[in-house]
């Protein structure tokens, strides 16, 4: 279902063709990184620290090296010695420990052997002498007075401090007068919220194949959200120049932010260099959970004030985000995501901590879901106390174009009000709440980003086209590229082949992150098509001996002086005689990314005997700007919603007192399955982004922001219990219901 504000109609944009890479994916032909095998290939295995924090006294690989089939062993001593101020220092140390193991699962050595079994056996035979050090495992431990230092290379970002610290970053910002804001308020609500670390949960484990040649150059086949970033990060970790590395993108089996960094490629390259054979390195699921990805655990206090008329006067919040073993920006983005309401008085403290747990990574709208849990819960309570409809309260305070974001910059054209109204007018919201159930609503916001992209459009001899980009396709973006090219050129979408090219075959392109691929890379495709059309008009003028000023491009053909028509195949057939092949390239650093807002509503039933929450109905509305391929926009909304549902109800990292993850498998790290869920009704709102030729905003991330507070609010409506810690799993919810307190 689409709620259309979009005044323009298109021929191809907004249709739902079968995606170009689909056939390979339903027949098993699509090649993900773990599916690739090279002649003479070795298999590699990693040696991981059993300690959460330990000094590596010595590593003796002599026994391992003597084992059958073993061809190479590498340790931290083989890697480039980066200065701690190098921007890739943390990434590089995370993929191979130097001197200290910083968390349970931290890689300390790697082995390559003829078979995977030989590599695993040899990895187990590498002798590492550890001197255990005190470990810091939680936010509270990290900020405690006199706490041991989790990572002695960590300095608080931008603090100028020379001393190591357990604080990764400390940011404060706001506006107005907080005290006056609370004085003006008739109702003040304050709560503390806690959330556990969670994983992105992509189904494809990290994998790569590397082949280092005698010429000192390496080819890497990688599953990543950005193969140019794989190249630059690998180069940094090895101390190589980028021209020594070529990265070929494999199909990627999900990323959600977790494949914006790397873990394996430099290790595989070094092993390949030592062994002079290709090396394949694939993580197990246990390794993925123990040592990649998690989104930060948090502790957030938030205090909100409003008048009896429903005007929110002030918000004050202190947000701790645990970055894990090395620093990151997670706290800042979480605080910045508090941007949905007119808040005349605002005070935000964002603090990132460092602990001896796996280094955190981006996860879909990084840090916004945890912040939204806090703020949207308080807004719901305000509505309850004021006795007003929770959507009406939000409409009253919603930001519109020109209102300040959390950082103070004005919002560009946004569709928050329209998205709230889409839910307010939805069939779901206007149907009665089922007997015994509770209904909750909540909203979410994400910035989206632009960044650098390149695209080349080649017209083939027969008038078909190839659209070449450098953006890995993680959710159907190839189809979107083809649709925009089809619209520009006037060429049927099935006559266009969109491909993702390697690092030597297309211009530099940043990572597929920040919901940017369809927005920014799409813009590069549009620009290349427009350049191509100018060339096509020129060629048509040459063929017809006409003045190019009198040639127009209409519906896939050059129209000369309003009558004579030359189609693309007719022009490409003559290309050789009119100036050669028809091709165009465009590159850009895209500005004007359009923020996307989402509003969700859920009806839940809570079994008061087991504490189990059943979602009876779920509807998610989101502003897409313009939906290029609506099916995949709905898919992003639905997929993000369900990840958020898992985060809300079940998912959490459970560590024992030694910092060992106790649930490092899909049996115990329980993600939602089909039988846990109802259909997710997706409503696409279209308030076009004026900075994009088709109005695209980017839809990848916002969908994960509202589900946690949506369900918390629905559970509160059903049970009267306000949950302030995640997950709201059956035992915790049961304890809260029976104890009358929060679980």
């Amino acid at each position: 279902m689409t709620v259309t504000e979009n005044p323009r109609t298109y021929k191809y944009v907004g249709t739902r063709p079968v995606r170009h890479d689909g056939l390979d994916k339903v027949t098993g032909k699509a090649r993900f990184a773990a599916d690739l095998d090279m002649t003479g290939q070795l298999r590699a295995a990693l040696v991981r620290s059993p300690h959460a924090h330990a000094r590596i006294v010595s590593i003796d690989a002599s026994k391992a090296e003597a084992m059958p089939g073993v061809k190479a062993v590498v340790t931290g001593a083989d890697f480039a010695d980066l200065d701690p101020t190098h921007p890739e220092f943390d990434m590089a140390v995370n993929l191979m420990a130097r001197g200290e193991a910083l968390y349970n699962g931290h890689v300390v050595a790697a082995v390559a052997a003829v078979t995977a079994a030989q590599a695993a056996a040899a990895a187990a035979a590498v002798e590492v002498d550890y001197e255990p050090l005190p470990a810091v495992l939680t936010i509270d431990e990290a900020i405690a007075k006199g706490a041991p230092i989790a990572n002695t290379t960590n300095r608080t970002l931008f603090s100028g401090d020379a001393e190591p610290s357990n604080l990764a970053s400390v940011n404060e910002f706001g506006r107005g007068d907080i005290e006056a804001g609370f004085e003006a308020a008739d109702i003040i609500i304050e709560r503390e919220f806690r959330t556990a670390a969670v994983h992105q949960g992509y189904i494809e484990p990290h994998a790569c194949v590397a082949d280092c040649g005698q010429d000192g150059k390496a080819v890497i086949w990688a599953s990543s959200q950005g193969h140019f970033a794989v190249r630059s990060k690998t180069a940094a970790a090895l101390g190589w120049s980028t021209d020594r590395i070529k990265v070929i993108p494999a199909e990627i089996g999900g990323g959600f932010g977790g494949k914006t960094t790397i873990y394996l490629e430099p290790v595989a390259v070094l092993l390949s260099q030592k062994a002079a054979r290709p090396v394949k390195l694939v993580m197990s699921r246990e390794e993925v959970l123990r040592a990649t990805g998690p989104a930060p655990a948090t502790k957030i206090t938030a205090k909100i004030g409003a008048t009896n008329d429903g005007e929110i006067t002030t918000l004050q919040s202190t947000m701790y985000f645990d970055n894990g073993s090395t620093k990151g920006f997670s706290a800042l983005t979480g605080a910045m995501s508090v941007a949905s309401y007119k808040l005349p008085n605002l005070e935000l403290h964002a603090i990132g901590t460092v602990t001896n747990t796996a280094r955190s990574a981006a996860y879909r709208a990084p840090s916004a879901p945890q912040a939204a849990f806090a703020v949207e819960t308080l807004i719901d309570e305000l509505a309850q106390r004021l006795g007003v409809d929770p959507i009406d309260l939000r409409l009253q305070n919603a930001v519109v174009e020109g209102d300040a974001t959390a950082m103070g910059m004005p919002h560009p054209k946004i569709g928050f009000v329209e998205t709230l109204e889409a839910i307010k007018n939805s069939d779901h919201y206007n149907s009665p709440v089922p007997e015994g159930a509770g209904r909750g609503v909540a909203t979410g916001f994400w910035f989206n980003i632009g960044e650098q992209s390149s695209a080349t459009v080649n017209l083939n001899e027969d008038g078909t086209a190839t659209v070449v980009t450098g953006s890995p396709d993680i959710g159907g973006s190839r189809a979107s590229m083809a649709l925009m090219a089809a619209e520009e050129l006037g060429l049927a979408v099935d006559r266009i082949t969109p491909i993702v090219a390697d690092t030597e075959s297309v211009g530099f392109t940043d990572i597929t992150e920040g919901s940017r691929a369809t927005f920014a890379t799409g813009m590069a495709v549009v620009n290349a098509c427009r350049e191509l059309i100018e060339e096509l008009k020129q060629r048509a003028a040459t063929i017809k001996s006409a003045d190019v000023e009198r040639v127009e491009w209409v519906d896939g053909a050059a129209v000369i002086e309003g009558e004579d028509r030359l189609t693309i195949p007719e022009i490409t057939a003559m290309a050789k005689n009119t100036g050669g092949p028809l091709t165009a390239t465009a590159s850009l650093n895209a500005a004007g990314a359009g923020p996307s807002f989402a509003v969700h509503v859920a009806d839940v039933a809570v079994d008061e005997e087991t504490g189990e929450t059943t979602i009876l109905r779920y509807t998610a509305a989101q502003d897409a700007g313009t939906a290029i391929h609506p099916s995949y926009v709905e898919g992003q909304i639905q997929g993000g919603s369900v990840q958020g549902i898992g985060w809300a109800l079940n998912e959490e990292y459970i560590y024992d007192s030694n910092g060992v993850m106790e649930n490092a498998g899909f049996l115990d790290y329980r993600m939602p399955v089909a039988s846990d869920l109802p259909m997710i009704d997706a409503i696409i709102v279209e308030v076009p982004n004026p900075s994009h030729p088709y109005g695209v905003r980017g839809v990848g991330e916002t969908g994960i922001v509202p589900p946690i507070p949506t369900l918390a609010n629905a559970i509160a409506a059903a049970t009267g219990v306000r949950m302030t810690s995640l997950p709201m799993s059956p035992p915790r919810l049961l304890a809260a219901i029976t104890g009358g307190a929060d679980g």
Partner: protein, 165 residues
């Protein structure tokens, strides 16, 4: 020269209608044998512990996780993987409805879902939404939220029933 490892076992079975044989160590999983010995990389590994369904195959018509079987257990059996679902170049209705219904995003879970859904429809030609959700509860998809997968299975059931009437 002394042997450092045991000779491998030979296994004979039928895979996607073809008689095949391969060599494997006794502890090799059927998943690794299918992928590494027979090149059937459409069978995916998401967990290796029977918890994600990415490796779903049919063994003598029954749904199995290839990662939970030892390869020698396949001796004499008939195996169907995603590579064997289409009839020549004609897609199975499920493959068609997955494509048309955008029931895949990254697609790494898709082979497992297709095999599991085929097994369901082979047994129950007109499943309810709840029956579909439970039949596919052993298959994880992190991208789609399942909505479009369920609808694609419903649509394939309608098409299959239409064809058989």
């Amino acid at each position: 020269m002394p042997r450092t490892h045991a000779l491998r076992t030979q296994v004979q079975c039928t895979v996607n209608g073809d008689e095949v044989d391969f060599l494997c160590a006794d502890e090799t999983s059927l998943l690794n044998a299918l992928r590494d010995e027979l090149g059937l990389t459409g069978v995916k590994e998401g967990c290796g512990t029977g918890d994600c369904g990415a490796c779903t195959i049919l063994v003598d018509g029954k749904v199995n996780c290839a990662c939970l079987m030892f390869a020698p257990e396949a001796e004499g059996s008939s195996i169907l993987t995603v590579e064997g679902i289409a009839q020549g170049d004609e897609l199975h209705p499920l493959q068609q409805t997955f494509l048309e219904g955008a029931a895949l995003q990254c697609g790494v879970c898709t082979p497992g879902f297709l095999v599991a859904a085929k097994a369901l429809l082979d047994e129950n030609s007109d499943p309810t939404e709840t029956e579909i959700r439970y039949a596919l509860a052993g298959n994880l998809c992190r991208c789609t939220g399942y909505d479009k997968i369920i609808r694609a299975v419903q649509e394939a059931a309608v098409q299959l029933n239409g064809a058989s009437k």
